[in-house]
């Protein structure tokens, strides 16, 4: 049922989702930590920026990226001036798009988890002589574990399902930028409904399994907490 190019697209999608999720976890953690603890007056502005991809049509983001990354765009010309190459139609370009696009799905659960930890456990740890770094790694992080799990799974699943951004900046190159949602779209357009059914079923199963895992584990975490 699935052709070799479908399997390639599937592999590429999983790799893209994995890389993007890892980058988001590393960069999103300090951001979420700061957002959860700061008393900065204009914090809401930054929160709105983080949430923007939730409501922005992906094609808008993709279009901006295409224009900005292009050799006539600001970032593209900067890259070329520095001796590099434009990132459109490359895997790295897709990673940049995915990181922006899936950001709220990672940062928001983390921020909520850090907020739920509260100040008290950290203050107690401080009175016992724990350094700020120590407090973060041995108190805040373990307590926020369910949040990390949710963030990772949602970021991953959302990237797997990404379409509009990739459509705009990917260029549909098999093995390089042709992800599974694009391959599926091609099958539908070319009236290859058999392959479309098969790929759709796989995407449905992946998404459903991931969400079931999130909800099941959330329940377990809630049961454990006092």
């Amino acid at each position: 049922m699935l052709s070799a190019s479908d399997l390639t697209a599937l592999g590429l999608t999983l790799r893209l989702a994995l890389v993007s999720t890892l980058i988001l976890l590393v960069t999103g953690t300090p951001l979420a930590w700061w957002l959860a603890r700061t008393r900065w007056r204009y914090k809401f502005l930054l929160e709105a920026v983080v949430a923007l991809p939730l409501v922005l049509p992906p094609t808008v983001l993709g279009f901006y990226l295409l224009v900005v990354l292009g050799s006539r765009g600001p970032l593209g010309s900067l890259m070329e001036w520095l001796g590099g190459r434009s990132l459109a139609f490359t895997f790295s370009g897709l990673v940049i798009g995915s990181v922006i696009y899936s950001m709220p799905f990672v940062v928001q659960p983390l921020q909520n988890a850090f907020s739920a930890v509260g100040r008290r456990p950290l203050e107690v740890a401080a009175t016992l002589g724990a350094s700020p770094l120590d407090r973060f790694f041995t108190v805040a992080l373990p307590l926020a574990k369910p949040g990390f799990f949710t963030a990772a799974v949602l970021g991953f699943a959302h990237t797997v399902g990404e379409f509009g951004v990739v459509l705009m900046i990917g260029g549909n190159i098999p093995g390089k930028t042709q992800v599974v949602s694009i391959a599926l779209y091609d099958h539908v357009e070319a009236l290859q409904y058999g392959q479309a059914y098969a790929l759709s079923a796989i995407l449905l199963i992946i998404s459903f399994t991931l969400l079931v895992a999130v909800y099941a584990l959330n329940r377990r975490f809630q049961g454990v907490q006092p």
């Binding site: 295409l66 224009v67 990354l69 292009g70 050799s71 006539r72 765009g73 593209g76 190459r85 434009s86 459109a88 139609f89 459509l167 705009m168 900046i169 260029g171 549909n172 190159i173 098999p174 093995g175 390089k176 779209y185 091609d186 539908v188 357009e189 070319a190 009236l191």
Partner: protein, 254 residues
């Protein structure tokens, strides 16, 4: 009590004048149009509405998508496709009025770059390979993409260029890739260069006809409707053909 007619006499006169102009049998016509033909369609609609008094609603999109929508009972009256296959397929399934299908335009493929002097008059730039990305429409379902693939295959370059060919979802996207500078050059529709008046800038090569099967675009009537018949007749009229030519298409031999 406010008198709604007070101070509004000129408006009412205008409305009555318009009603007088409008035909009693004016209809609203829904036309699904292939995205490559949208600009020409705009001029077509302006003239047709002025002549006939009917109202035309244009639904742009890819021919593949329109086909699927029509199969699912979309309320379109006329279908202007980007190929022959889809209208033919609809005819086989009895979803087109018999005898209404005809070729309204012949698309032309142009290798184009916004950079002056980049594309030479023989298209040798393709063989030179001095570029990073070449944009085409997706050959799987876009007729302009299929033609681009035929040209590259005829020049024996298709295999070598895989990995450097970026495929737009349709010809508009392929054009956008080139115009934004993300791809160095690309195969676009001649009509697109006409639209934007970019033909004078940059460099281009019009691929010779022998390298690809002609891109015939067919129209068909989906529902029996007076305005639909009138519109299709208008497309084939001298005025209609003139518009089509002015947007960079060839017209079918009579």
């Amino acid at each position: 009590m406010v008198n709604p007619f007070k101070n509004s006499n000129p408006h009412w006169a205008a409305v009555i004048f318009c009603l007088f102009l409008a035909r009693a049998d004016a209809e609203e016509l829904q036309v699904a149009v292939a995205s490559n033909f949208i600009s020409a369609m705009g001029s077509m609609v302006v003239e047709f509405e002025a002549v006939s008094g009917h109202r035309v609603r244009v639904i742009p999109g890819s021919t593949g998508k329109h086909f699927a929508q029509i199969m699912q009972g979309a309320p379109y009256d006329v279908f202007l496709a980007a190929d022959v296959r889809r209208p033919e397929e609809l005819e086989k399934r009895g979803m087109v009025l018999l005898g209404s299908r005809f070729t309204y335009a012949v698309g032309k493929l142009v290798l184009w770059s916004p950079r002056p002097g980049f594309v030479d008059a023989e298209g040798a730039v393709l063989k030179g390979g001095n570029f990073r990305f070449l944009a085409i429409a997706n050959p799987l379902h876009a007729p302009y993409g299929r033609a681009a693939r035929e040209i590259l295959q005829a020049m024996d370059l298709w295999g070598n260029l895989t990995g450097r060919i970026v495929r737009g979802e349709n010809i508009s996207q392929a054009f956008q890739y080139v115009k934004s500078g993300n791809a160095d050059l690309g195969f676009v529709a001649r009509s697109q260069l006409h639209d934007l008046g970019v033909a004078s800038k940059g460099s281009q090569w019009e691929a010779p006809h022998r390298l690809y099967a002609p891109i015939l675009q067919q129209a068909a009537l989906l529902k029996e409707k007076v305005s639909g018949r009138e519109f299709l007749a208008f497309i084939r009229s001298e005025a209609g053909l003139k518009i089509i030519c002015s947007y960079g298409y060839d017209v079918p031999d009579p």
